[in-house]
Symmetry: D3
Subunit: 143 residues, 6 copies
């Protein structure tokens, strides 16, 4: 049996801003533009979580998608959906809430939980708008 | 020449919450659920603006889409994009920021500006998530 | 306050076939083509349910979308998702399972339940594939 | 049985420009902007054709979608796909090739052919880009 | 000239269930949940087939997309579209019809046919729903 | 900090044809089919540009998306949007305007400009229709 990659999409709607406390308003505005709006803005984020592995001989599954969905919901969506990424999420505290950084944190939180099921996290894709998204392979550089 | 309907889509990313000041936290939570999160959440809103009219004999246009886009940007997007719908938008102040109410306010703001160009606003569609949207025909009930 | 239309999307994945028992195989094949395959085929159906009404003064809601979603799930999705439309669904029994007919039955089942909440069902849109969908306004003919 | 609306999507990829021969280059540029580029530009057009009617008692169909698709392909797609809307299409000759005007011509061409099958054309939706589309109800004004 | 990857999408609508004959109903239900429904369910599957190669100096093509589309239709779509993946497809017989396993079988069937044209199959992506898809690189592990 | 990939989408609407001057009409038709239509056809192209790098410690950015968007617009979109890929674009002159070849040229033009910002271009994805797209990794073969 060969390695297959399986992906589950989940979604969360959150507020955030890009803002450094130690910078002046002007500096924040200069670097982050409209994303630095003091009173926040928000997005419908789409999160794609990819797990790699060989399909199980009995089930044909790389990972049970119900299990994967439950992990993503419990570890990520329940904490980020309808929340403020800067204020409400303990594991994002003190972090510049760029899509890049949030994706890395999501990886760090999901990888061990997926490993517990015998699966291997392979990729996080985090879509902020129809025009912007980031992909993270746990530090690997496939290309 | 016959009446045609033409639609322009614009987008804005905004924060909001559903919250009544005069209600207790428990009441807000009971009625608005996760949408009442104190620290806000947000969405990628899609706004579809439909204008009706007869195509111009020379241009074939019901309305010049560049003109329509400029009106929507100047009147709506510049005020709502990367903003907090509850705090940052004078023409939404004091309004429960439900998608329904925001759509009505968008209509009220756009209709006279479109009329100035000789066009007639026919419909506002405001998409909050891939699962939720509202449509407003200026109070008309086509069905 | 003016009438607004609000729409909730839900999805179900189901098997079906287009087949008349009293017809010969050849006749079924001639009329229904590949859709008459004896061993079934299936689709990811998307169901859009539109409710009309005036936004509530307190909540800004035409209908609470959680309530609407719960009704759709309880009355429709729980019965159709991961089911066979011809065999497994009591309220579709004996019906030619065309998208048209299924949409009408969905209306008949949802309209009274939505009415109980004080809402008014205005439209059912049922999407079978990216190329095919039907819309039903309870028999009204808006155009 | 009640009236249902059924829609079929077909697609065509075509070149066009917005240009009036009797106008100067400057005038064309002033009115049509980038759309007046002399050497053409193009789009992936999406065409949605909606037919209304009561589902047939035997088939459950408002119209056989294979029949509808064949009509659209024969009357429209075969003439417009991979063509130049200004130069290659006899039934668009002399017409300002705006989306509005093309939609009207598509209606005029499809309506009688659909009527021959016993169906009634109800709506044409022609999508030019993800941000622009027109809808035509044969001159009716549902809203 | 450099290696480019080109992808063609085709679609098929099929029924299937996840079910092991040697297991009890309870065991099937416990492992496969709603996907084990005895009377089947179904999906609109999207199949993305990626071929790698250097663009031809004359045509600029890695592979003629008409040729690629014909191969996919002849080898896959004609066998899977409007069929039951468990019952109707000789090359899937005896296979647990998980998306993972179907993707591997599609690869095995397409790879030699594409090789005959001088092309090299690089990836199969099989989308089951908007929330679930698998990717297969012929056993390679790019990340 | 780990390597993250960030992608920006931009769009352009262009005309083109697949045509070799030194070939007869019959030969062009035989090889390129409808894409060889003398009077051109066109597409809504979607261009996805992926940059890899480590998020900046202060901003959390791999690259400022405003900067990336500006580069893409200045170097690519301003030259290709509402243009004829065969006639109007100096850097595509003499090139068979296949999606593969255009993607390579886009890479060649963008890579040095992105490098000037300290970023590293990792991938170009160019979507011609919903059914066809190419991906180019600068000659790398990740799979």
């Amino acid at each position: 049996m060969s390695t297959v990659y399986i992906t589950r999409r989940e979604r969360f709607n959150a507020a955030h801003k890009l803002w450094r406390e130690e910078w002046s308003d002007e500096q924040n505005e200069a670097v982050f533009g409209r994303c630095s709006n003091k009173n926040w803005h928000g997005h419908n984020f789409e999160l794609f979580v990819t797990v790699k592995g060989k399909p199980d001989e009995k089930t044909g599954f790389v990972i049970d998608l119900k299990t994967l969905s439950d992990i993503i919901k419990r570890e990520i969506i329940d904490h980020l959906d309808h929340r403020n990424l800067n204020l409400d999420v303990p594991f994002l505290k003190g972090l510049m809430a760029s899509t890049e950084n949030v994706a890395i944190k999501i990886w760090e939180r999901l990888a061990p939980k997926i490993a517990e099921t015998g699966g291997e996290l392979a990729k996080i894709k985090l879509v902020e708008t129809e025009n912007n998204f980031v992909e993270y392979y746990g530090g690997k550089e496939p290309f």
